[in-house]
């Protein structure tokens, strides 16, 4: 089981290629918001950049508060989201301690599914798709697909 990590953010140049790739490839949108990874400056451009990303909690607070079961625990950390069950209450975003869940204007949540597709688009190798201990399984995307939905 792999998770997405951001071990080398000191190298980040703020090009937003990762966010744009996630939105483009996973959610079929042009966006730097509706993406599982989002980049912001850490207090002005002179101080570098940080990534808002799911830290693959286990147990995940967003799963605990989700009233419909749209969020469930992912093997190896992180969550699987069945958007068909989501009622746009936004409780997941409120519960997330690291601001990893973005709600668009309709309240639809966007969170990293740890598929790792953004990694190849980072020109400075800031990101890593890392194997973690846990039960063997398919890719995050496959798992999302198995459970109903990959994207919005």
């Amino acid at each position: 089981m792999k998770i997405l990590t951001t071990p080398r953010m000191e190298r980040c140049i703020g090009c937003h290629s990762c966010s744009l790739a996630c939105a483009r490839l996973l959610h079929k949108r042009l966006s730097w918001d509706t993406a599982g990874i989002r980049i912001r400056s850490s207090g002005g451009l002179s101080t570098g950049f940080e990534a808002s990303i799911c830290l693959s909690c286990d147990p995940a607070p967003c799963v605990k508060v989700c009233p419909t079961g749209a969020y469930s625990q992912r093997k190896g950390g992180g969550v699987v989201v069945r958007k068909k069950l989501c009622i746009r209450c936004g409780d997941c975003a409120t519960a997330c301690p690291v601001d990893a869940i973005y709600l668009d204007m309709s309240g639809e949540p966007f969170v990293c599914i740890h598929c790792g597709r953004c990694v190849a688009y980072c020109p400075h190798d800031c990101l890593e798709h890392t194997e973690v201990s846990g039960e063997a399984g398919g890719t995050a995307e496959k798992e999302q697909a198995d459970t109903g939905e990959v994207a919005s």
Binding site: I13, G14, C15, H16, S17, L20, A23, R24, L25, K28, R29, L30, S31, W32, D33, T34, R38, I39, R40, S41, G43, G44, L45, S46, G48, F49, D104, M105, Y121, P123, H124
Partner: protein
């Protein structure tokens, strides 16, 4: 968002009211440069001075902005305080993607705010906020406060001006997100005249992508070319400063007010030297994986004990030449200090550098005295230049007030025009020869990027005037289409017409994709029409004597060729400006 027209937001600072207009023209002017010229035709006041409150300050993006790598620039258009004519200035940072995600193709700002203000624009927000407490602050201070005041970190652009813009100096720039600029021709003064300290654009919406695989496929093709080939390595590696050593080697580097074109001492300010000792890190415009922004550092001992502060300053070839070699400052850290002072003041770094190079020679020749310069300007004296840049920003006396309007304004008062390194505006960092000098002097933006004259000079193409004119016209036309997309011109080697057609097709602009040739011609004519109808007379442009006195690797400048090229290029420009255009802004009756 993909649409067959332009969504234009017009904000009137005088009334505080804003309106949206749907304007046709996607298939005739495309966007970016073409759209800016068309909108200036609609909103500009050709017979009124640049600082008339009703004059528009225009920001435009293009049909491919955000959809493809390096489609990451914004075109800013206005009536320039430098020459009181139509002008374009291009900038990056996060400005382009912020406009895209704020869901406007163009932002037009008219009127004058009652008090120093900030304009905030987002897809669900338009607000004019009083920020009188920021008036007078330098760009560093203003940036810190503005970041705290407004939401959207990471997904917004903050465009702001410094003291030079507030004072309406034609050398004032608009700074975008700390490290990028709408640098030249005085956009900062236009904001100052509008009482507008800052513009914050929040890119807070998103759009569905085209169905099917075509878009994804061509995106991958472009991305690969930008990142996995050598096509962009120059910009990714040493960046534009790689040119310093290259030009010095061929005797084409402007040095000490163009008194020389090569000097071994320039070893202290080459791209290689900067990378070795002063390069701290890189940054990128949003949507650009190349990351050409090179950020150096200076540290300053502020107490006798070992107490230091440090600053991060972006550098490029043009800046290194204009406040480095042109001022005889051959140490990279001293160059960074000079850039830093100009940046804080909100000055376009290039113009003050070249203007002070002229002032240094004028002082040495006795045309002016230290009574005018206030500090002992001398080539290599970085401390004096740091003080002088502040004097320019604040207009410390009559001399600096004149000089900050452009070197030629000071020449009118004091003389010394023979050695003023002005090509339409203060020269860029190339002394490659006749074609570049004519290209910048007559170019639409008076920019080295208007056409590749510097490149033409370096290729053995013979000495036919008509060939050079043809090259300048064709190259300018192609670049004008790219800046209508709006691409970074560093990607011009990647974005061929064929590739651009593929990109446009993939997102639904099939008609535009099929008419790149005629649309390019239309845009070129429209831009020149705006320029000429606002007062530009290319036949009246003169190239100062200093440019004819230099020696490059090709030998002495050929003044006969230079003057003939200038005359024939001027004639070709006037033909373009007089030609019929079909583009005129027509507003859709149905509105939004």
């Amino acid at each position: 968002m993909i649409r067959d027209h332009f969504k234009v937001l017009v904000v009137d600072l005088s009334t505080g009211r804003s309106t949206f207009s749907d304007i046709d023209g996607r298939d005739t002017v495309a966007g970016g440069s073409g759209l800016a010229a068309m909108l200036f035709g609609k909103y500009g006041l050709l017979d009124k001075p640049w600082n008339e409150p009703g004059q528009p300050l225009i920001f435009t993006i293009g049909p491919l902005t955000g959809y493809f790598p390096l489609m990451s620039k914004t075109v800013c258009a206005f009536k320039s305080p430098y020459h009181d004519q139509y002008a374009e200035s291009h900038g990056g940072g996060r400005s382009a993607l912020s406009l895209r995600f704020a869901d406007v193709d163009a932002l037009v700002i008219t009127g004058r705010a009652k008090s120093p203000s900030a304009l905030i624009v987002g897809s669900r927000q338009i607000e004019i906020k009083d920020v009188h407490f920021l008036w007078g602050t330098d760009l560093q201070v203003a940036g810190k406060v503005l970041r705290r005041m407004f939401p959207g970190a990471g997904h917004r652009t903050i465009l702001r001006i410094g003291p030079a813009g507030e004072r309406q100096s034609p050398m004032a720039c608009i700074t975008a997100d700390t490290y990028r600029h709408f640098g030249r021709l005085g956009g900062g003064a236009v904001m100052g005249a509008k009482n507008l300290k800052a513009i914050m654009i929040h890119g807070d919406s998103s759009f569905p992508l085209p169905e099917g695989k075509e878009y994804t496929k061509i995106f991958e093709d472009v991305h690969t070319k930008m990142t996995d080939t050598d096509m962009m390595s120059k910009y990714h590696d040493l960046g534009t400063p790689i040119n310093v050593a290259v030009l010095n080697d061929i005797k084409a580097l402007p040095i000490r007010n163009l008194q020389a074109t090569a000097d071994p001492a320039t070893a202290g300010i080459t791209g290689e030297r900067f990378a070795e000792v002063a390069l701290l890190r890189n940054a990128a415009c949003a949507g650009c994986p190349v990351g050409c922004i090179h950020i150096g550092f200076v540290r300053e001992r502020f107490q006798k004990e070992n107490r230091y502060l440090y600053r991060q300053i972006s550098y490029d070839h043009e800046l290194i030449v204009t406040v480095g070699s042109m001022l005889g400052v051959m140490d990279c850290f001293e160059v960074l200090k000079l850039i830093d002072v100009a940046e804080k003041m909100g000055l376009d770094v290039m113009s003050p550098g070249v203007a002070l190079a002229w002032a240094t020679e004028a002082l040495a020749k006795g045309i002016i005295t230290e009574k005018e310069t206030l500090v002992p300007l001398a080539f290599g004296n970085s401390a004096s230049y740091q003080a002088a840049i502040q004097h320019l920003a604040y207009g410390a006396n009559e001399f600096y007030q004149l000089l900050s309007q452009g070197t030629m304004k000071a020449v009118e008062r004091y003389g010394g025009g023979d050695f003023a390194c002005v090509l339409g505006q203060e020269m860029a960092g190339y002394a490659t020869g006749e074609t570049f000098f004519v290209s910048q002097a007559l170019g639409l933006r008076h920019s080295h990027l208007d056409a590749g004259g510097y490149s033409y000079d370096q290729k053995p193409k013979g000495k036919k005037i008509e060939d050079a004119v043809k090259f300048l016209i064709q190259d300018e036309k192609a670049r004008g289409f790219l800046t209508s997309m709006v691409s970074c011109l560093f990607a011009r080697g990647v974005y061929s017409d064929e590739l651009l057609a593929g990109c446009l097709n993939s997102v639904g602009y099939g008609t535009l994709a099929g008419s790149i040739g005629p649309v390019s011609e239309e845009i070129q004519k429209l831009r020149w029409k705006m320029r000429v109808s606002s007062g530009f007379r290319p036949e009246n442009v003169s190239i100062p004597k200093r440019f004819t006195e230099i020696t490059t690797w090709k030998g002495q400048i050929d003044t006969v060729f230079l003057n003939s090229l200038k005359d024939q290029y001027a004639s070709a420009i006037m033909d373009l400006a007089r030609a019929d255009t079909t583009a005129s802004p027509s507003e859709r009756k149905d509105g939004l």
